[in-house]
Subunit: 410 residues, 2 copies
């Protein structure tokens, strides 16, 4: 059998519930999606529970499951993946946090959680905090986009059951981090000392002096949240599945999962993660990546954004734009390439957030047991040949078809 | 409720993918199978993942799962089941191997992996190796068919993460067994000493002197492979499920599983495990076994052989011959006997080896929720009432119907 390649296209938050404004169709049912429907007609379809039926999955936990890892075993918080997503080194056993540069008053009450939506000087501010050592724990700090940053703690016996310092509310006093077990208590103490230290250092920093002289809010404190323990995952994704993989995604969080699993990261200009994203640029990058990879993970964020916005027509339009990208991909890859279309979770218009409803799945490519389904949407796929599977099944199903999986037994 | 009996007919490697030469039907879809279709029409159908969706199962791991055991917990290699299959005593904690009698030169390079396909004198050769004691480990050795044999090591603290000695290649020097952990390293040392000892003993053995005088290749070494730790399984199959079971199968490996689970083994003359097998003799043995058993496991190997041969028409013909055996069985057992038709894995024509595609399942017998399915094949059963289940579910579903299962809870 010749080597076969595969594309896993995850349309973030794609699936939905019936929307009355759309005549009780879901946005995916309502949208005109001839390319996705053609894939459904050629392929084998089914429902997928990204983690478990009814489980309201995050994008991170769902992507871990779709990439073959058990999120219940390895996931304790998004911090490590956010940090990896901005190319910080994250080692198993590290505890990492998302951080906001924020503005507080002298009583440590939050004036602005985003420090006046600071965009410049954050590199210098981050440098002033990076490398601190507190109680024998090394503190690595790096800026991300705008007011965002990440903190990685490295040392012996750290715990990740640490509560947030960011009170998520203007006017509230910052919270003391608390640990739910002994290791996490020790870690929380380090975090609290780090936060106080960040205030001492940042309030005197020239970047902030300049901002205040210009009438801007100073980024005078770093507020961590989303603690997570960096998991031991053993082999890389490629080692585990016998693949050479590329990761083309739009958000730092999912990028961080790709980095953590040691996939080749390909950043695409114009892939903004918003409704304005240049999905055709992403499609071209996917096709190109197949030249020297046999597996491409691609995430397009737009449908999730529209779902959070509760904007049904924006979601329909985003889906129709993605359909053109799917058309481009199917027109430009070898015909024996597997194309998997699915979502990481539902983000229903009526909810405005993630939900635990299952997602549609099609696997299009050689050898599949083609079924009668001719439309790609939440309800049509229930008549498909895959029936109902789980996210953690997907990579086994795909590597089986690709012929790269080792037999278990004799 | 009167006592009900059950037959579990596993058609090895039965299921497949669409084959273009068969008009994009699978061999099972293409074959004329009126008896199996009648069972599907009377029964309840579905898809089954022998181990997990997409998991490429071996015959051994799949049979363990279908018999209610978790292969991820208990399976480390085929050795113990091969040894049990030739009626060697295998105790939990033993480490066992498949072995070839081979021919090597004085540099221990392989001249023939099968020792000139030796057929006679292997009992005497095996006797010369059986009972050796090396570093406090007892070595039990027994011949199987032709050049095949098995080795069982018994002693304290053995490990089964031991690599093969057989280099699987003519002209190559035999490999040194290596252990992946401390117990396995110790075990590998015993294996290496055993192999050298086998060469010392066998090259001087009268059987080989005679072979050489006749111009035949001497079976002058024993080359182990496929190390496995004999698992602790607790109760026998019958104790676990409240059954009195018989095992009617065609290969030593599956026979060994039956022996290990303490099922009554019934050997059938003419059941060759090949495409020429007398499946009607097997069918008769199944019917007869039901006289004094209430559960019969039957495996017919032919479909897997045709799949490995990538011979679609041979697979179709084998399936049609099995259908006649199914007809004989249904015509000759009490009408309230449960008949389960399924496979242990797919062996698709296009792959020529096992694949992780799901297999069709029908349970025909009293009380099942009869569905609309009227054909027994991979795609028709997806409309069935069982939807999609796993191999380890099967014995619970069956003992539930038979009325022999104890309530879990109150």
């Amino acid at each position: 059998m010749t080597e076969r390649k595969a594309i896993l296209l995850i349309m973030d938050g794609l699936s939905d519930r019936p929307v009355s404004d759309l005549g009780d169709k879901t946005p995916l049912e309502y949208a005109q999606t001839p390319a996705m429907d053609a894939a459904a007609a050629r392929g084998v379809c089914g429902l997928m529970d990204p983690i478990a039926p009814g489980c309201v999955a995050g994008s991170d936990t769902a992507h871990l499951a779709l990439l073959g890892l058990n999120p219940y075993e390895i996931y304790s918080g998004r911090g490590p993946f956010e940090a990896a997503g901005i190319d910080m080194e994250v080692q198993p056993g590290d505890v990492a946090f998302r951080v906001n540069f924020s503005t507080v008053d002298d009583d440590l009450r939050v004036v602005d959680r985003r420090a006046g939506r600071i965009t410049e000087g954050t590199h210098e501010l981050a440098q002033a905090l990076n490398g601190l050592e507190i109680d024998g724990v090394k503190c690595y700090f790096k800026e991300s986009v705008a007011h965002r940053a990440a903190l990685v703690l490295r040392g012996e016996g750290l715990g990740a059951n640490v509560s947030d310092v960011d009170p998520h509310e203007v006017g509230a006093k910052i919270w003391e981090a608390k640990g739910a077990d002994e290791a996490s208590q020790r870690t929380a103490e380090v975090v609290n000392k780090f936060v106080r230290k960040s205030h001492e250092i940042l309030r005197e920093h020239p970047v902030n002096k300049k901002r205040q002289a210009e009438g801007k809010l100073p980024a005078n404190i770093a507020l961590p949240r989303g603690a997570g323990l960096a998991p031991h995952i053993g082999q890389s994704f490629d080692e585990r599945f016998g693949l050479k993989s590329a990761c083309i995604v739009e958000t730092g969080l999912i990028r961080g999962i790709g980095v953590y699993l040691k996939m080749d990261i390909i950043d695409v200009e114009g892939a903004t993660g918003g409704l304005d994203s240049d999905v055709m640029a992403t499609a071209k990058a996917v096709v190109q990546a197949l030249d020297d990879h046999n597996f491409v993970l691609c995430n397009i964020k737009g449908p999730d954004v529209a779902g959070h916005d509760q904007d049904a027509m924006a979601k329909v339009q985003m889906i129709e734009r993605i359909d053109q990208a799917v058309r481009y991909i199917t027109d430009n890859v070898p015909s024996d390439t597997y194309l998997v279309l699915t979502a990481d979770h539902s983000t229903p218009i009526e909810v405005g957030d993630h939900s635990g409803d299952p997602v549609p799945l099609v696997i299009d490519g050689p050898g599949v047991r083609v079924d009668e389904v001719t439309q790609f949407n939440e309800r049509a796929v229930t008549a498909g040949g895959l029936l109902r599977v789980r996210g953690t099944d997907l990579m086994l199903m795909l590597t089986n078809l690709m012929g790269v999986q080792h037999k278990f037994g004799a």
